[in-house]
Each structure stands twice: as structure tokens, then as C-alpha cells.
Chain length 561, copies 2
């Protein structure tokens, strides 16, 4: 089906609910979903994703392209954020201006959203309404219930959408953690009631649909972390995802249990600790020791919490590993604990950190060595539990790469449920009978470049790769009316490694060559900027390849006076 630029151009029956994923289906990251009903739209989540090895240089943050919404902007009833992770709330300050409608979320998420909006100077403009977990509300024609689940961040909300006679359960990110340590338990009674009531569609998290068993509990993680830390005789530095309040809570308790004091390195940990305490979590978390006072404590009483579990080069853990942290120098026999998973793509970065630490004789403990991390997403047995409890007629896998969504659909089918594959841009009508694709809208990825969101296919971004691979050479010629050189040609090279070739001799040779080239051209060529540039580029290309073995990008400036 050919994608259409504007959602308004798709023929949609307003009496039938519809679903349009614009981000997060076919990828892990930048979740952005739309539900439509009675001519109105509800946005569910506004997430970002981070650059990887396919992203053009100079781009770190990526947002979904939601330009198809422009034509229906006035019909957006509101924006709902299910929970506080970057791939669900991280684009709010980049994309809100394109929608300009009220935002609804629970308190912890609101606190995170407010920080982002504040940094972008949008706090006064965005109507942000806090809702209570478990509450119901109507946003335009959308009857909504916030159903409490568990995840690796407090307040993971599923949404029950009651749209006429159709009930849709949008899971958001979830797992079944019997001992979540911080925050509410998942509302299993309500889930079973909803199963009695009857769910038509479940739109759900596929992240771990290829993984057997259960994701495990934060409480098990606490026990394993306690065992690891209790064994250590010297300083221990732990890194984990900053937003995982349960993990922070476990580490706080372990400090008590092992007679250690906690000091924190890294802004994002401070921010999340503050957010958690401000919204009623981490009530027993110990007072922090200022980093500058660490020296007063014996190493055996120090427990450091550091950002950078993915080896991010500017975060605290990378600086500790390199011995470049301004506030703390790890010493031989200290222990570093990675209470986190390795996000695919970060393997090499982390192996380098492990190596740097090993070279300094610092012990490294990862989830390979002890069960000190649990995932926040449902494994196959949890999916089965949920589908038996909710008994949905039809599953729409989202939140995963293709292989995760396919495994999710196959698992649903093995339980006798219907399953439909979607991809970003699909417009699905969700009648009581069966889902049906009624159209497709344009979507895509926009990279944050300075203050602009730029399509990743932008020509300027692909030019960057060519610049990066070969560098650039500029040649400036000033010609008079008779197309004679008025001054010495000027040359500059950027990013052109010359090895053992002398750049001065290359420049001198090029200057000589220019005289020759000019003398060989017809007056037609000489008088056309375009033709003359082409002729010069052709010759320069040959010469550069011969001298350097590479062909840098050429920029030829012709000035005629």
C-alpha cells in the first residue's frame, strides 16, 4: 500500500476505532501511536530513539516524523504518556509544538516530562494534567482507564480504551514483577475483571517475545546484588539505568545492610533520585555523602552509584574506567558492578571499559557473572499469563524489531488468538469483527541537528559521510573578463591525510596544472562556471588520486571580476 502524506486523506469510517503506529513498530525506540475514533485522534506516547551505526554523523537523537498529523492537528483530543522512559516521553519537548494539545500522565512521568519541557522553555505553554493510576477519564470521545502494571520504572500504565463497543488494551511497557520493591503491584484483579468483560484488541510490548520463561523480579536482583556487594572488601561502584527506581531502592537498602555510605556520580542519577523522592518513592533511601567527603570514609564503607551503564563516553563510569573522573580515582581491588544489560550495539564500548578496569586490577561484575539485572519486559511465560487473564480476541504486536513482533504474533496464534502484523505508518481499522488495513501514511525518522529536526535522508547528511570518508579540498580562482587568473590560485585541504606526500608540493603542482587546464579549454568552457568547474574537477580528481590514492570532495570557487 502506497503511503499518503496526510492522515486526513485516508478514508476512515469515524464510527470504527482505528490504530496508527507512527513509531516503535519494527524498532525498539521512539514509540508514537495514534488511536482514532469519531473523527478525533488520541496520541499515545512521544518517544525518541538514539543514533546507531546507520545514523548519519552529527545526529544523536532521533524522533518519528509525524508530519502526517499536520492535516488533522485540530482533531487531536490529547496526548497520553504511558510511562517515563525516553522511548515513550523523550520527544515531548521536540514534537509538542506540532500538536499543541493537553498532555496526560501520572505523577512520576509528569515530573520527568516537566524537566524536559522546562529545558526547552515550554513549561508555561504545555497543559500537563496529572492523572491517578487506576483512574478513568474521557479525552474527547476516548474513554480511558489507566491500568497499573509493573516495569523497570515506577508507574507503568496500560491503557484500556473503550471506544463504543470496542475495547482495546494498550499494554505500554510491562512485566509481571511480584516484588517490584518500589511502587504499586500490577493490578491482577483488574486484569482478570477485564478478561471477564472481554477485550477485543490487545496492542502490546514485543521486546522479549523471543525469550522463554519470566523476566524475573527486582527483589531477586536485590538479593543477588547484596551477595555480590557483601563479598567485597574495598570500594564498590555500581552502575544501572538511572530511571530504575526499584534498583536504586535495592542499592539504598544494600548500603544499610553492608554498612556502606552512598555517593552519586552523574547528573541523570541525581535527576531521577530527585524525581523519585518528589513523587513519593525511595522513602528509605539513605542520605548521600558528598563526593568531596568520600576521602573521610574508608574504602570498605564506600558505595558509589555512577551513571553510564552503556559505556557512554561522557558519563561517570567511562571516566572512572579511564581514571579521568575529577572527583574519584578507583584503586586496585575495588569492584565495579554493572547492574544492567548490554543494549545491542554497545558491546564493544563496554568491552573496552571492562578492559580498562581489568588493566587497573579493578574487579568487574556483570550480569554474566551474577543475576544482578532483570529485564523490564515480558518474556514468553508472562505474555501467556497476560493473554490467559485478559483473553483478548486479537493481538497487535508493537514495541519490537521485526523478529520480536513475529515471535509475539506466533505465540499469540499458538494460544488460539488472532494476530496482525503492523509497521509504522499502517492505518488499521479495529472493528468488533476483525482488524483491517485501510491505508498507510508516510512516516520516517528525523534527526535532531542543532535546533532543527531533519530527515535522515537529507542530502546534507549524506554529504557528511562523503566528507568524513575522504575530506575536502577547496580551490579558489579569481578570473578577469578574459578568463585569465588575476591572482595565485588558493587551496585549502580539510580532512585529507597526506601520509608521506608533501602537501606543499601537491599545492604547487596543482597551481601549475591550473594554468595548463585553463590554457587547454575552449572559450565556451572558460566562460561557463559550470563547464569550467567540471573540467577542473575532472583533472584534479585524477591528480589527487595519483598523489594520495583518494579523491577528496572538491569545492571550486570561481570568482569573476
Amino acid at each position: 500500500m502506497k503511503p499518503i502524506a496526510n492522515l486526513s486523506q485516508i478514508d476512515i469510517d469515524p464510527s470504527v476505532p482505528c490504530f496508527v503506529p507512527l513509531g516503535g513498530s519494527g524498532e525498539i525506540g521512539m514509540n508514537f501511536n495514534l488511536y482514532g475514533y469519531q473523527g478525533q485522534w488520541l496520541v499515545v506516547d512521544m518517544g525518541i530513539t538514539f543514533a546507531d551505526d546507520t545514523t548519519p554523523p552529527g545526529i544523536d537523537v532521533i524522533c518519528p516524523d509525524i508530519s502526517c498529523l499536520r492535516s488533522v492537528k485540530d482533531q487531536v483530543a490529547g496526548i497520553v504518556i504511558t510511562h517515563a522512559h525516553e522511548d515513550h516521553v523523550g520527544a515531548i519537548h521536540y514534537l509538542w509544538r506540532q500538536i499543541q494539545k493537553p498532555v496526560y500522565c501520572t505523577a512520576f512521568t509528569a515530573s520527568v516530562a516537566r524537566r524536559k519541557l522546562g529545558e526547552a522553555g515550554l513549561l508555561d505553554q504545555v497543559p500537563l494534567a496529572e492523572v491517578l493510576p487506576g483512574s478513568t477519564q474521557a479525552i474527547g470521545p476516548f474513554e480511558l482507564e489507566w491500568v497499573t502494571l509493573t516495569h523497570s520504572v515506577p508507574e507503568a500504565n496500560a491503557l484500556l480504551l473503550t471506544l463504543g463497543s470496542v475495547r482495546i488494551f494498550h499494554t505500554g511497557d510491562w512485566k509481571l514483577d511480584p516484588h517490584p520493591l518500589e511502587g504499586a503491584h500490577y493490578d491482577d484483579r483488574r486484569l482478570m475483571e477485564l478478561g471477564e468483560l472481554g477485550i477485543d484488541y490487545l496492542v502490546g510490548d514485543s521486546t522479549n517475545a523471543t525469550v522463554d520463561g519470566w523476566s524475573g523480579s527486582e527483589a531477586e536482583c536485590h538479593s543477588a546484588l547484596l551477595r555480590v556487594i557483601a563479598e567485597q572488601k574495598h570500594r564498590v561502584a555500581v552502575t544501572c539505568f538511572s530511571s530504575n527506581t526499584a534498583r536504586l531502592s535495592a542499592i539504598g537498602d544494600i548500603a544499610h545492610e553492608t554498612g556502606r555510605r552512598i555517593s552519586v556520580l552523574g547528573r541523570s542519577l541525581y535527576n531521577y533520585l530527585q524525581t523519585a523522592k518528589a513523587t513519593g518513592y525511595l522513602k528509605n533511601f539513605p542520605d548521600l555523602v558528598p563526593t568531596e567527603d568520600l576521602d573521610y570514609l574508608p574504602r570498605s564503607e564506600q558505595l558509589i552509584l555512577a551513571t553510564g551503564s552503556q559505556g557512554e563516553p561522557r558519563a561517570a563510569m567511562a571516566k572512572l574506567a579511564k581514571g579521568e573522573h575529577p572527583d574519584l580515582l578507583l584503586e586496585p581491588e575495588d569492584t565495579v558492578v554493572f547492574s544492567s544489560k548490554v543494549i545491542p550495539g554497545n558491546e564493544k564500548k563496554l568491552y573496552r571499559l571492562y578492559d580498562l578496569l581489568a588493566q587497573k586490577r579493578i574487579h568487574v561484575v556483570t550480569e554474566q557473572d551474577a543475576p544482578i539485572h532483570v529485564s523490564g519486559h515480558p518474556c514468553r511465560d508472562e505474555l501467556r499469563w497476560m493473554y490467559r487473564a485478559l483473553r483478548p480476541t486479537h493481538i497487535i504486536p508493537v514495541h519490537g524489531e521485526a523478529r520480536h513482533m513475529i515471535a509475539h504474533a506466533e505465540l499469540a496464534e499458538s494460544l488460539g488468538l488472532g494476530a496482525t502484523q503492523v509497521t509504522n505508518g499502517d492505518v488499521l481499522s479495529l472493528s468488533v469483527q476483525a482488524p483491517k488495513q485501510v491505508g498507510r501514511v508516510q512516516t520516517g525518522r528525523l534527526g535532531l541537528s542543532g535546533s532543527s529536526l531533519v530527515p535522515l535522508s537529507d542530502r546534507a547528511l549524506s554529504e557528511r559521510r562523503a566528507l568524513a570518508d575522504g575530506g575536502l579540498i577547496t580551490v579558489t580562482l579569481v578570473l578577469d573578463k578574459k578568463c585569465r587568473l588575476v591572482s595565485e590560485p588558493q587551496m585549502q585541504c580539510v580532512g585529507v591525510p597526506t601520509g608521506e606526500v608533501e602537501l606543499d608540493s601537491v599545492t604547487a603542482d596543482l597551481a601549475l596544472a591550473i594554468e595548463d587546464i585553463l590554457s587547454e579549454q575552449s572559450s565556451r568552457v572558460l566562460q561557463s562556471d559550470e563547464l569550467l568547474r567540471e573540467a577542473l574537477q575532472r583533472e584534479f580528481g585524477h591528480m589527487l588520486r595519483q598523489w594520495l590514492g583518494i579523491k577528496p570532495r572538491q569545492l571550486i570557487q570561481l570568482v569573476r571580476i
Copy 2:
């Protein structure tokens, strides 16, 4: 210890053997080792490594910096290559000119080396002597014995160096494969004899020193691959490392056993098949079906061998996954088998291939699903076996990243052996008593840029990153003697995404700004290229940041006439 530029400046006792790793210690890749004795040097291996996420853009291949050898070039007795992998022989055509001495290796390795030297036009210049596995020879003062081990390529040779009263066993890459399928068994009798004789130093492979157990046999791999392929009803495409002749042999046999015919996609597989056959391996490998004749065979009789087990974008498997291979289109229900490991750093690239294949409903089987790959390097039990057989006094771990070499040393110490950590550039004297670091030479990494080897720290290469991140803007001004503009300023942008800002309006504004900037400068500034450039760059920087949110690199051409 401060590194010194020339090996000749290090005070070395010529009567004591010495060891100098120049590449491969502290990294997996670009092995380059030196042994010294009686004022002469022996080069062992000349390997490359491949670019990773830390490498500057535009560099794919990396060689060790061996400039410290310049001053002792005439004292190099010869070059020995242990086996045919890229990290041992891959730099021969890039680095040989710096040494210009005879090369010694066994037949299979020689065949691979000749192809490389041929491509570089060096075949006539390089004296390449084939030696027999198990043979002994003298290269200058170096008494050498080639000891046969097993690995994931035919003819993996360890070297026994007898230097006066000191015996050094240089393992090269090895494992203990009881059923190597192709090529000789490891020479366990000779290893035990050497144990009787007494080995002073073992310089050895650390790759799998963190992995418990045994690496497994190619024969087990054959069985598992047979089970996987026999189950399939449609086309099967297998990818593996092209140099793994045993794996190719297994796949050849499986074709017989499952009634399939083999077709090959990818140049490197052709090359290695040819090399293997020319040197007496793969005698039972079936005749290939030309790809263009595949259509005459039912899908169930097709077995495709494809290059690209690491997801290399230009190799056959990536093209098959994208549906872009000119000769073959995989179909739903076909099966793709990755008979290989994921080399760290390639995870995301491979996950993307798995996804593309899953989307086309093509089954993917990896070593996660079945034991269809074995490593070519010794795990901990193999290291123990070897050290019990050889009973070396002292272990020097090489061929590994820091954590592998540390684990290797700890394992050796747990067996009561001595162990010494080295890193590239260390100069170690190996007396009968004990090793001793006597100096350090400069080493490093050189990137292949066109036909030059350039230090990765070259300023031009770091400029490339800045170009890639922000793009570049050139401004050309032609000024007369009175520093007045002679013509309109010219501007060009490369790699500068402008988002919703009109570039023409930026250009017009900059042109206006230039007039202002010129009018505000003192004549001292106006008459100095340097000061005027600085003033212009400062102003442009502010303006560009305001308009675009980024600061591209600026190149200002000032032409005075």
C-alpha cells in the same frame, strides 16, 4: 617506561633472546611479533585489524606501526607467518616494503600470501619460501621448528624457537580439535616430547582464556549442521568464515548427505575454495552449480554458500537479506544458517539482517539455536592440557584484549607457572632465569588511506570527524588594495542541513553581514589575513548558531588583488 622511537636505541644483550610484540597484545587483531637474538631479528606474523567505532571515518584497514624497526632493518633475518588468517598475514603487502626480507610459511598460507602480494604488484619482489609442517630450519641465528596444531584454518603452526639454551614455544592461534575434518591433527606426541625436553617460555593465544571448557570440534559442528539442514524442505543458504576449510568440507559432505547441490555467492569464498583445492584440501568437495543454473534445480536441492557472516554490507548475505542480490532471490520458507559467531561490534548489523530475513518469512538459524559453530581458539581446559603437556616455565599471554590476557596469566599462575603481562612495544629479555623488561619502543596504529598508511592520530583524520558532525561552509571574499570587496562574496555549504531555514536567506544575510563586519574593522585587522579571518569566523559562528543551531566548520578564502 618511556617508549623509544628506534629499536636500535634499546640496550639489549645480544646473547639473551628477546621478545617484542608490536601488534596483537592488548587487542585481537594485527599480530606482529619480533624475536631478537645475537643482534638479529625474526618477524613473526604481519596482520591487519579492521576499523571499529573508534576508528576515524574513511579508514577500513589498520596495520601496526613498525617504524621502530627502521633502524634495525638490515638485521632482520626473515619473516615467518604462522597461518593464513588476516590478523596474521593480512598486512604482508602493506608492510613488506619496510622490511624487504624473505618470507617463510607453509603451503596454504603461501597461497593466500601470494594472492595479496599479487594484488599489490609485489609478487616478483618478495622471496617467499614454502616450508613443510613439522620441519626445522635455521633463519640466521634462529633455530626454528614448525609444530602442527589445529585451528579454524588449515596449517596452524606453532613455532619452537631454540635460541642458545632458551626454548620458546610461540603457539600462534590454536585449539585442540580431535577431528579437524581437513588437514593434519595436532602433533600431540611432539608436544609431549617438547615437555620432556623443557620449554622455558610459552608465548600464547589468550582469545578464549575467559571461557571454560573446550572449544569443541569441527566434527561436532558437522553433525549439528547436518541435523539443521536435513530438516529443511526448501532452499538453504549457509554463511561461514571463508577461510574455514573444515567448515566448507562439512558443508560439501552435507550436500552429498542431503541430496543438495552447492552454489557459491561471493568472491572470498571462491578464492579460499581455490586456495584449499590447490594445496590439497577439499578433495571430496562437490562440483559447484553455476548460480545462473540454480533455476533448473528445485529449491529443495539447493544449498547456497554465501559470504558475509558478519553482516558486511557489500557481501552476499546482506544482499540476499535485502533482496538485492543480482543472482538469487530468497523466498518464504527458505532457511539461512549462520555457521559463525558474532564478532563483538557486529551485533546490531547482524540483528538487522535477521530482521530483514524474518520479515520475508525466511527461517534464520544461528549458533544460538544449534551448536553450528565452534571457536578456533583454546578455552580454559585446552590451555590446561597444553600447559600440562608442555610444562613451560613461564607463560607470556599475547593475542587478546586486556581481560583475556589477564585471565590467561591467572590461569597459568593457578597451574604453578610463571606469567608476565606484556603490551605492544614492550621489549622483554628472555633469559633462562626469568623474563625482564629492558625497554619499550614506540608502536601504534596506522590506517590505510588510499595508498598511504596514516597514523590514526593524524590531524586530518580528526578533522574528518568535525566535518562529519557539523558540515562545512566556505566563504570567498576578493578584496582590492583598499580592502574593499571587488565582487559579491561567494558561499557554499556542504553537509549543513538547514531544516526549515531557507539557505538562500542565510546566504543573503551573511552577504549583508560581511559588509558590516568589514566596515567595523580597523585597518590593521583588514590588512592581516589572519586577523580578518578570525573576525569573520567569530561573527559567522554566532550567526550560524542562531540560524541553524549548529556551527559548521568555516573555511574563509581571502583573495587580495
